[in-house]
Every structure is written in C-alpha cells, then in structure tokens.
C-alpha cells in the first residue's frame, strides 16, 4: 500500500501538509479533552467560578499536558526504535525498554529514594538506567556479528519484559506494604497528576530529548534504508546508535517513571503516520510526535469519560487498540520484508 500522500512528492511539500494538519488535530483533541470529563467546564466558568478554576488549572490542564508529553515521547521513541532496529514491530513496550524502566523505578521506590538531583527526581534517573540497560541487553542479544536478527530482537524483548515483570513482583514482595502499594499504583500507570511541578520536571528532560532526536532524523532515515551503506553517506553509525539508544532510554525512563508502562503507542502511531505521509523518517518522527500526543490525550479522555462511575486505566485503552494493530501488522508482513 502506498501512503495517501504520494511519497514521490518532495518531502518539503509533504511536511507542509502534514505538520499543520497534525497540529490542528492536536489542538482539537486537547481542547476537547480540556472541556469534557466528569464535570464539563466552559471558558466562562473557568474565569468566574473558583472551583471550576481550580479543577481546570490543578487537575485537567496538567493531565492533558501530561498525556501529550507522554504520548509524544512514546510515539517518537517507537518511530526511532523501528528505524534504528530496522524492525517495524519495534515498540518500547514490546522490546522490554519500558519493563527495564519499571524495574529501575520500582527499586527507587523500594529504597525510598525520593531525592531530587539538580531538579530531577531520582526515580527518573533510576528508570532511565533500567531502560538503558534493557535496550542495550535486547540489542546485544539480538545482534549476531554485524547482523540484527528481527525475530531475536522481539523474542529478547519478550524475555526482558518477563524478567522485568518478575523483578518488580519480587521487589514488591520484599518491601513494606505501603511501598508495595505505591509500586503497584505506579506500575498500573496513570496520567493523574496535580499541578505543574512534575510536568515541568519532565519537560526539562523530554523536550530537549525530542529536539535532539528530531535533529537526528536524517541519520535515522539513512539507517532505516540500510545501516551498512549509511556509513558511506557520511553517518557515524556507532555514535548515532549510542546517542539514539540513550535518548530513547531517557525518554522512556521519564515517561515510565511518571505514567507507568503505557503500551503500544510507539507501535500504532508511527505506522499511522507512515500510512498517511510515507516512510521518510524526517516526516515520520515529527509526525509521530504530534500524533502520539493527540492519540494519548484522546485515549485518556476516553478512559476517564467512557464509564460514568469510574475511570479506566489509559494503558488498557492503548493496549486494546495496539494489540490488534500488532497482530494486523504481523498479518500484513509482506509489506515489511523483515518480519
């Protein structure tokens, strides 16, 4: 299947259509998410009613921003990992990167390390270390000589996920009940946040990481086509790989440390962008960033409004959409020769 927007059109003209369109979509979804909920809030009420003002600025706006930050990061990392590993089924959740982050964050909670290091909560750092260990482990296992085996990559991701899940369970078993409960609450994942402190802390890491990864989109584009010949087109493959690994681990570490392991966003969103605008990573990466933000904000809005009595976990919504999408991609494997 060829993308809806003809990939033979110059990239600049495709970007000129894609980016404004996706920005518009994000704006509409965010506005919708800000106004709907257990209690609808209008602009007039925000200005005149102190309760509505508090509800909007302390709960709803932070939650929508949190969804946008996490969704954008997960989708961006998914698109980058797919290109880096040259595997269209790569996703931070499937590859065990989120699992590794979960172990790191659980350890931080278990040892009660709540310190803030230069404005960054220690749990972010622990989750980053866990995610980075996972990504290097999965990559190391799946790489034979200079070849990265696509099947081995996914299987090692599954194994790392299982080990990570067991690790989190064991940590929960040994810590006192209050901390175990804290880990459980956190691993379930939620975008529930009060105020802007956490968002500011996350933004300090995520936004520079977005910029750094987007700046590498040309290298990723060449790597996605053919890793070996990327060297002969001027790419420092080893340096690029390490940098991309670290940036992805950092973003996953931070998003997992706050929102828990939200699955499949990094899988569905980049494929959606590819189907709409083509395979060029210089459009897939920024497109995934914007669509990922809109997607998770939309999924979270559904999660908190679908049932009147209670909220659904947002991870359940993304998994319900992402699981079938994964199977569909596997079924359509003739489109991708690496599957």
């Amino acid at each position: 299947m060829v993308a809806i927007l003809n990939p033979s059109r110059p990239l600049v003209s495709r970007l000129a259509i894609a980016i404004p369109l996706l920005l518009l979509l994000l704006a509409v979804v965010m506005l919708g998410a800000l106004t709907v909920g257990a209690q609808s809030i209008s602009l007039k009420e925000i200005l005149s009613d102190p309760t509505a003002h508090t509800l909007f600025f302390r709960l709803r706006l932070p939650r929508v921003l949190m969804g946008a930050l996490i969704g954008a990061s997960l989708a961006l990392v998914g698109a980058a990992l797919q290109a880096l590993f040259r595997n269209p089924l790569a996703d931070p959740f499937i590859l065990g990167v989120s699992g590794g982050g979960a172990v790191g964050a659980s350890l931080a909670i278990a040892f009660g390390i709540g310190a803030v290091v230069v404005g960054i909560p220690f749990i972010f750092i622990a989750a980053f270390v866990g995610a980075a260990c996972s990504v290097f482990l999965v990559y190391g296992v799946a790489k034979t000589g200079r070849t990265l085996l696509p099947g081995a990559l996914l299987l090692s991701g599954v194994a790392v996920n299982l080990i990570a899940a067991a690790g989190v369970l064991i940590i929960q078993f040994f810590v006192d009940p209050s901390r175990a409960h804290q880990i459980l609450r956190w691993t379930t994942g939620s975008l529930d946040v009060v105020g802007f402190t956490t968002i500011m802390q996350m933004s300090c890491i995520l936004i520079p990481s977005w910029i750094a990864l987007l700046a590498m989109s040309h290298q990723l584009h060449l790597l996605a086509i053919d890793k070996e010949t990327a060297t002969t087109l001027g790419v420092d493959v080893r340096r690029s790989e390490i940098l991309i690994h670290l940036l992805c681990s950092l973003m996953i570490g931070v998003t997992v440390a706050v929102g828990g392991a939200v699955g499949f966003v990094g899988l569905i969103v980049p494929h959606g962008i590819r189907m709409l605008f083509g395979e060029d990573l210089r459009i897939v990466l920024p497109g995934s960033l914007l669509l990922g933000a809109a997607f998770l904000v939309g999924a979270d809005t559904v999660a908190r409004t679908a049932l009147s009595s209670t909220e659904l976990p947002v991870g359940a919504i993304t998994a319900l959409l992402g699981g079938p999408a994964f199977l569909w991609l596997l079924r359509r494997r003739q489109r991708y020769s690496a599957l």
């Binding site: 060297t231 790419v235 395979e279 060029d280």
Partner: protein
C-alpha cells in the same frame, strides 16, 4: 591517472580471529576500471568495505587523495567514494526515488532537505543505471536484481570520484548485466571515474577491464592486466582448482571448470 585510493600494507581481522586481509598494497586510479577476484572467503568483500570506510583496518592505512582515510571528514569521503553492497535487505517500503535521493545527502547542509537539483540528479542516476522505470515503485516489491540497480543508482547520485561495487551483477540477468558493464565503462571513459568491482563473473572482464586484482587467502596474488591474470595457470592458483581451463575465442577469453 591519479591515485584516488591507496591501500598501504593493509591488514584486517574480525575480532580475535585470524586475519582476513594481510599486507595488501595497491592503488585505485582515476579513469580505470578494475576487478577484484578470488575464491569465496578470500577477503574480497572485506577489502571493499575497508576501502569504503565501513571497516577500520587493524593494521596499515588507506589513503584518500593522499590523506589517511581516518583523518578525512566523513562527509568529504562520502562525496569521493560510493559503495554498492553485495547484499542488503530493504525493510521499509520506500520508493526507489526516495532511496536514490539519499545519495545526495553528503552534499546537503545540516538540517536542509533535498532540493530540485538533488531530485534531478537522483532521476538522472536512475536513468543512467537503467532503472528510471522503477522510480515510483516500492523497493520492497522489487526483485533482487532491480534492488541492485536502485543501489547502483544511489551510488551514482553521489557523483563520486570512485565507485566500489561488491558483486553488482550477482542478481542481474544477462541483459542488465551487460547494460551495467556498459554503464561502468561509460563512467570511466566520460567522467574519468575510478571503478572497482568485486566479481566472480570472469567472462565480463577481459575486454573492458584495465586491471584485475587477484586475491588469495587475503593476500595480493597478482595485480595486472586481465590478459595476464586470466590464464589457466594463474586462475588455477587463485581458485585452487587445477580443473580450470581457458580458451581464447575470437579475442575473448572463455573459462570453464572440468
């Protein structure tokens, strides 16, 4: 004929294994069409990967325009040397034009997209490689031979001074194989390009090639004109098979194995 690439006492080993290449010295000159021959596993592909800068020599040096390749900025090297790999797998369904236009990336400034000139160069390269009809096709739907032509076109889009091809004709039919050879000869004759081809296709080279580099166990066995290398005695030693026979038929050397 000025030397573009020069291998000086080159040696290479994968990890702690025995050296694949040892003490190899030769030059690749502009305006020449050369072939690298040798039995399977003798280090031919490793040699072109070393020359292309994909692998780093464990000993010795590669000089590009008289400067050690390790001191040449990657982008500068990418504007001088192009490489067509022996095997590659296209995972994502890019169009052939999207792949070929990446050959222009060494000429672009950081954070700039390709312009109309790059697009024209890519289309021209596709035409020269005989793959203009594939421009809008998805590379994942192409045959091995068609993919090979696309990669040749990408190398041409780099407008290099030296092009290194690792068994470029291995998946091509007779027609495309001959067309590719004509293209390589044209690049040498009209643009003065240095062309080095790793090949097992000995029949192609007797009239068109200027020189043949014969490797044996990772070392240089012979570097001479085709007429000197393509003899029964030399080939028997290169391929370690006494059953190799050669015959001159109307000025062409025909080879077979008993």
């Amino acid at each position: 004929m000025t030397p573009i690439l020069e291998a000086r006492n080159l040696a290479f080993a994968y990890g702690s294994r025995a050296p694949v290449i040892h003490d190899l010295s030769f030059t690749v000159n502009s305006g020449t069409l050369g072939a690298v021959i040798g039995s399977n596993g003798c280090g031919k592909s490793t040699l072109v990967k070393l020359l292309a800068g994909i692998l780093k020599p464990t000993r010795g040096d590669i000089m590009l325009d008289g400067v050690s390749l390790i001191h040449v900025p990657r982008m500068v090297a990418a504007r001088r040397i192009a490489y067509v790999p022996q095997a590659f797998s296209m995972v994502f369904p890019f169009t052939a034009l999207e792949v070929v236009i990446t050959g222009r990336s060494p000429f672009r400034k950081p954070f700039r997209f390709e312009d109309e000139h790059d697009r024209e160069c890519a289309l021209k390269a596709l035409e020269v490689a005989g793959a203009a009809h594939l421009a809008d096709r998805l590379v994942t739907t192409l045959s091995g031979g068609e993919q090979q032509l696309v990669m040749v076109a990408r190398a041409l889009a780099q407008e290099p001074a030296c092009i290194l091809l690792d068994e470029p004709s291995s998946s091509l039919d007779l027609k495309h194989r001959s067309a590719l050879m004509r293209t390589l000869v044209r690049l040498r004759d009209t643009l003065g390009m240095a062309v080095l081809v790793v090949t097992h296709d000995l029949h192609l080279m007797d009239k068109t090639f200027d020189r043949v580099i014969a490797l044996r166990h990772g070392g240089l066995m012979m570097d001479a004109a085709p007429v000197e290398v393509l003899t029964q005695a030399v080939l028997a030693e290169v391929y370690e098979d006494q059953g190799i026979r050669t015959l001159n038929v109307e000025g062409r050397i025909v080879m077979w194995c008993d």
